[in-house]
């Protein structure tokens, strides 16, 4: 088991390394750097002549280390992040990116996590119904729900909900994370409830889309397991129907679903982003879109880096869970 853990962790670290290189390339890809930006600012607002601003630019480059070769700059960047928590500065807000992201990031994680749990539970439930009542009404209804969740565009669902809330029923909790009186209030049950009133559309839309995949995976696996001889043996022995499904078949059908969890998380994060952007709820999504509109590359890239890191960790956790659950997975690594 230890070896397995070690191998998985090393490969996750490798992934993180590649992700960081991609992020760094993205930061460096647009023409111009911070020194150019500062020089342009000095010309337009500080009244410097072109030559003076060029001197300023070169001084800045030297001071910030932007004149060094790329690998060295990369090392500087990554050590700044890991050791000092320095994720760069937002050009637009002139604030450290870390301060900008802080709270919003955890909101996104909390909402996406909730969606994930809900989508998994409901999806598994529907999957069981679909498999047990194959080709009957229960299956048809579960499959239809899954199909609709998969095909209806999330931003469209969000738009329709927004239209309905804002123009049809005049719902007062649109487009914010919490009501006025709760903004500075400490966390309490009332505040949580108020937040839920604001964010339920996100949870609803993202979970609705995500349960489809869970349902399909669960239904397929359970059907495969239910066809196996040991299930027939259990039935022949006289074990009641629900017990056969829940106690004998279900545990064996869960493995692929656990594998799938690492893949499902990106879907939930993307879903959260999409719906939050449409509804204008201040989580990571609108911030990232805003940074795109305003060319604030540090913010864009840092968000990308953080979200990728979350996914790599989620994948690692899913792998470990699978290893705990299934000795074959653990053993396969040592062969």
């Amino acid at each position: 088991m230890l070896r397995f853990l070690l191998r998985r962790t090393i490969s996750a670290l490798g992934l993180l390394f590649v992700v960081s290189i991609v992020s760094f390339t993205l930061i460096k890809a647009p023409p111009g750097d911070y020194a150019d930006y500062a020089a342009a600012l000095a010309r337009s607002q500080g009244g410097l002549s072109y030559e003076q601003s060029m001197v300023l630019r070169d001084q800045l480059r030297e001071r910030l280390g932007l004149d060094k070769p790329m690998p060295q700059q990369y090392l500087q960047w990554i050590s700044g992040m890991v050791l000092r928590g320095d994720f760069g500065t937002s050009y637009v807000y002139n604030k450290p990116v870390l301060n900008l992201l802080g709270e919003r990031f955890f909101r996104t994680l909390a909402i996406a996590g909730t969606c994930h749990v809900l989508a998994t539970l409901i999806g598994v439930g529907l999957g069981i119904i679909g498999a047990v009542y194959q080709h009957r009404w229960g299956d048809r209804i579960a499959s239809t729900i899954a199909f609709l969740g998969m095909t209806i565009p999330r931003f469209f669902m969000a738009l329709v909900i927004l239209y309905w809330l804002a123009f049809v029923i005049g719902y007062p909790y649109v487009g914010a994370i919490s009501s006025r009186e709760f903004i500075l209030a400490p966390m309490s049950f009332a505040k949580l409830w108020d937040t839920l009133k604001h964010v339920w559309p996100i949870i609803f839309v993202a979970a609705f889309g995500g349960l489809a995949y869970n349902m399909r995976v669960m239904r397929g696996n359970l059907l495969d397991v239910l066809r196996q001889p040991y299930i027939e043996a259990a039935r022949a022995k006289g074990v009641p129907g629900h017990k056969v499904v829940l106690k004998h078949a279900l545990p064996n059908a869960l493995h692929p679903l656990v594998m799938y969890q690492g893949v499902a998380m990106p879907y939930m994060l993307s879903g959260e982003l999409e719906v939050a952007i449409v509804l204008g709820i201040p989580t990571i999504g609108p911030l990232m879109l805003d940074s795109l509109y305003r060319n604030d590359i540090w913010v864009t890239t840092t968000i990308f880096l953080w979200l990728s890191t979350v996914l790599v960790v989620a994948n690692l956790l899913a792998d470990i869970a699978l290893g705990l659950l299934d000795p074959r997975v653990r053993q396969a690594g040592t062969l």
């Binding site: 490969s11 992934l15 590649v18 992700v19 992020s23 993205l26 647009p30 199909f147 095909t151 209806i152 565009p153 931003f155 469209f156 738009l159 329709v160 927004l162 239209y163 804002a166 123009f167 995949y213 397929g220 696996n221 495969d224 493995h255 692929p256 679903l257 594998m259 799938y260 690492g262 893949v263 990106p266 994060l269 993307s270 982003l273 999409e274 952007i277 449409v278 990232m288 879109l289 940074s291 795109l292 509109y293 060319n295 590359i297 864009t300 890239t301 968000i303 990308f304 979200l307 990728s308 996914l311 790599v312 994948n315 899913a318 792998d319 699978l322 074959r328 997975v329 396969a332 690594g333």
Partner: protein, 396 residues
């Protein structure tokens, strides 16, 4: 089970293995059995798939809808009554007009609309809408309208050409008074082209990488799979956002479309590569491949002639299921104003008008292009699901 990493399809590997062995094996059996009993004609794999697919109602409905959608896309200009870029300053944001078939003197086969005028009541200043039921706005069947090019021909006939005098905007108009119905049809062309181009790139890349990785095995397979894992681990929407961020802003609209296609094809191939690799691994160890190797067939020949045909069915299904997902993501990017730029027309770009909540509240019909997205996504998904069930005709 050589690989311990999660299979993104979530399919248990033994089932997938069985699915692949079955067609090849049974084909051999069918061939062997044919000379013995001449009365039974052996059925090809394709025929069996078709037989199974035909019984799947959802799949058949999907196939018909996909066919209609593609036809509508190709003949979009012929079908649109108005030019998608023709502005009408008198009909800015005019709401969808209801279609009628009956007048006092009986039934009209071509639906007509009645012109609507809005006036302000001089006393209350409330807007009063009046429907002029005496005037019929009826398009002419196969009449002359705006001219367009189709297959290199300059044409001006339309299925229903717009009437001259009065408006026939069945889905309303946008902020420049352009006919939404015609724009919806025109938008299908770009949206579908992007989806097909991206899927073509992703499928080619994915199946190539998958086959090579699965067939070579060993250390090459290991490293290719690490690469694939990287692409699978990337969060999709943020990655596209980050890539859009570094696209130069001064590109021509057409160049931008190509760049968008490139961006969208960066991730989707990985999933397919995983699946194809799994199938290839299963096939590469079958006897008939060993036999081909023993006879002295080259690697290239084995991959192209012996492995590719058996993987092909899964690739076809993956292609059908990839198209809707590309349509969805392209619409979302264009909806946010990050994708295709005007004067190009795509469904997502049309929906861009709905991003403004005031617009959405006052003119809810700016949402109609979503119908195109919905129909396309649903029909391709139905077709893909049907095909997926049908490609394994030997299963119970």
């Amino acid at each position: 089970m050589l690989d311990t990493t999660p299979d993104p399809t979530g399919e248990p590997i033994p089932a997938a293995l069985a699915a692949d062995i079955a067609p090849a094996g049974a084909e051999l059996l069918a061939d062997a059995a044919a000379p013995a009993s001449r009365t039974v004609k052996s059925q090809t794999y394709l025929r069996l798939v078709w037989r199974r697919f035909r019984r799947n109602t959802m799949g058949m409905v999907g196939a018909v809808m996909v066919a209609l959608l593609l036809l509508a896309t190709v003949f979009a200009d012929f079908l649109s009554p108005y030019s998608p870029v023709g502005r009408n300053p008198d009909a800015i944001y005019s709401p969808p007009q209801s279609l009628h078939f009956f007048t006092q003197d009986g039934f009209h086969i071509i639906p007509f609309t009645n012109p609507v005028t809005t006036e302000i009541d001089p006393n209350t200043f409330a807007t009063v809408t009046k429907v002029d039921t005496d005037t019929l706005c009826q398009p002419t069947f196969l009449g002359r309208g705006w001219s367009y090019r189709l297959f290199g021909l300059q044409l001006d006939r339309h299925l229903l050409a717009a009437p001259d005098k009065c408006p026939w905007n069945i889905l309303g108009t946008d902020r420049d008074g352009r006919d939404m119905f015609s724009r919806l049809l025109a938008g299908s062309q770009l949206t579908m082209s992007i989806a097909l181009l991206v899927v073509a790139v992703a499928v080619t890349l994915g199946s190539l990488v998958g086959i090579i990785s699965g067939y070579l095995g060993g250390i090459a397979d290991h490293w290719i799979q690490r690469g694939v894992e990287f692409f699978l681990a990337i969060p999709e929407v943020p990655f596209y956002f980050a890539l859009v961020a570094i696209v130069p802003r001064n590109l021509e609209p057409f160049q931008l479309v190509l760049v968008i296609c490139l961006i969208l094809s960066t991730l989707r191939w990985a999933h397919l590569a995983r699946e194809v690799r799994g199938k290839t691994l299963a096939i590469a160890h079958l006897d008939y491949v060993s036999a081909a190797e023993a006879v002295g067939a080259g690697r290239w020949r084995i991959v192209v002639r012996h492995i590719l045909p058996n993987v092909m069915s899964h690739v076809v299904v993956a292609t059908t299921l990839l198209i809707p997902s590309i349509i969805l993501i392209e619409s979302f990017l264009s909806f946010l104003g990050l994708g295709v730029q005007p004067p190009m027309i795509s469904w997502g770009l049309l929906l861009n008008a709905a991003q403004n909540i005031q617009n959405l509240g006052s003119y809810p019909w700016v949402l109609t292009p979503v119908a195109g997205v919905l129909v396309a996504v649903m029909s391709f998904n139905m077709l893909g699901d049907g095909l997926r069930d049908a490609i394994d005709p030997y299963q119970a």
